[in-house]
Amino acid sequence: MPADALVSIRDLTVQFRTDRGWVSAIEDISLDINAGECLGVVGESGSGKSVTALSILRLHARGTARAARGSIMLDGRDLLRAPERDLRRVRGGDIAMVFQDPMSSLNPVLTIADQISESLRLHQGLSRAEGRSRAIELLDLVRIADAPRRADEYPHRLSGGMRQRVMIAIAIACRPRLLIADEPTTALDVTIQAQILELLRDLRAELGMAVMMISHDLGVIAEFAHRVVVMYAGRIVEQAPVGTLFSAPRHPYTEGLMTSLRGRDIPGQRLGSIPGRVPDPDESIPGCRFGPRCAHVEAVCRAAVPALVSISENHDVRCTPRSQALAPACL
């Protein structure tokens, strides 16, 4: 585990109970989130990016989900094995989360101030009045105008963008070291999305926290992340610093995603597309799970599950032909 890693995930496999037994939603996920960095996690639906994020705070329903293997280390403790009591201190304390849908994440019958101060009262033992004045400070911090008035309002009075600002205020209330933002701007209009991304960038710098930004949108990832993890069908297929990933993607899936976006600049031209569809988690595919959709598939891809191989410093790829061609020879 690198010295500056805040959270270190190793060999994480999470399974869900289905009619056909336990099915792996993510498999062998290993990644580090360094202190103060913006880690982007990008993937399409079913890639396992949200499952990974929810696992960090162990927010999956007990009984229907289980971490079959692996560890998630924070300050030398394994969050997967920590008692529920300890985890409650981590949630909203060291690690906080912002979700996609600000409409359903807020309680409609509590005022904004009550909801923001909830974690402060829980984690820091503030009184109600102290909580309210901290809530007003936090509303200022997330650039909500007229904070004292807004603090006493109910969520239905706020627009989607304002509600997401309130969610962010709740998340940063206890100065977390890691903020997990799961598609925080997907439900918002594009001009509001730009405002929220700008706010998150500013807050990250002001508070010095790490942000794990989960998105299906490569544009959002390009503009936000320092380092990017690309997921496909429950596995990490590539990870690299943002500049490297966008200028020299190495996994055929990452390449396909880039091509399908960039072709949009030329009117009337057919877009580069990836044929087929994302497999279901319980679909058995021999070898590489991207194989059936890959234009460069070879016999070796079907023979064994490819390993995530480092092809240069900080650049890992899970593709057997590519890593054989690109990896520095082991002597």
């Binding site: 509001i192 999305q193 730009a194 544009g219 390009a222 503009e223 057919r270 990836i274 044929p275």
Partner: protein, 330 residues
Amino acid sequence: MPVTSETSVEVRDLTMSFGSGGAGRRPTMVQVLHDLTFDIGSAETLGLVGESGSGKSTVGRILVGLLKPTGGSVRLFGRSVTGADRAANFAAVRSRVQFVFQDPHAALNPRIRVGHSIAEPIDIAGKHSRRDRDDRVRQLLELVGLPRDSADRFPHEFSGGQRQRIVIARALSLSPDFVVCDEPVSALDVSMQAQIVNLLMDLQDRFGLSYLFIAHDMTVVRAIARRVAVMYAGSIVEIARNADLYADPLHPYTRALLDAMPRPDPTRIRPRTIPGEVPSLLAPPSGCRFHTRCPHVMPRCRDESPRLLEIAPGRQVACHLFTAAETTEP
């Protein structure tokens, strides 16, 4: 491919108001569309972009006859569907106008086999024998790139992208000339979006379809549309040929929208974001409805609503920055 010079859709001064307010209250009328004027040519795609609440979906619903506008006129294939003979005229063109919705999960009845869903418009139009109908369904499935045996399966057996193909097959069942596509790829993953956009372009080439392509994602519109109309708070603020709009947006809102689009390019220098939010329809700002967020606002913008004016061939913009120049010229 039917080549005609006919204009598929002509919209003039279209306005729409809805009653607002619940039981016991006197409904106040909320105007959601303000004097829209545009055409869609034969075999042309007009992109319609804007944020939520801009009124873009309302336009689509009016054009397919799901809503009756409160003012202005709509002509489909030369027939007025808003005037005195609207019922008769609409009946005459009904089969030529179809709709593809955003959510392919909600657009298909989960208890009805796919083949039956696709054939439903054919049954309603009532002009086919059973055998012709089944042949047509197989032909449509092939056209949208689905296996022929899909007809006997149920919607849940298909992925989102495949379901959207089914919805497109149903929209094509009566060989329409004009299809309103309301956010047809917004619910799909990026790799699926490309497949569906390509399919829509292929079908257009093959059958000479006209599209009104409604989307909030300007990159998708850029790929498919020939001309683009930008809406803000119920008005069209700019219409231009695709290449012109993206290379040189004139209206400050169009520019803000393009600037705000995240691009897959980490080296891009991010432009400043515009402040504020889309105004409430219940209390719209005076004058130009964008003036509360506009970086170039002038005193005139607060009082006077700008009209959509043609400032170059094929280029219309509703902004005092451009009308001012025009009125001061001798």
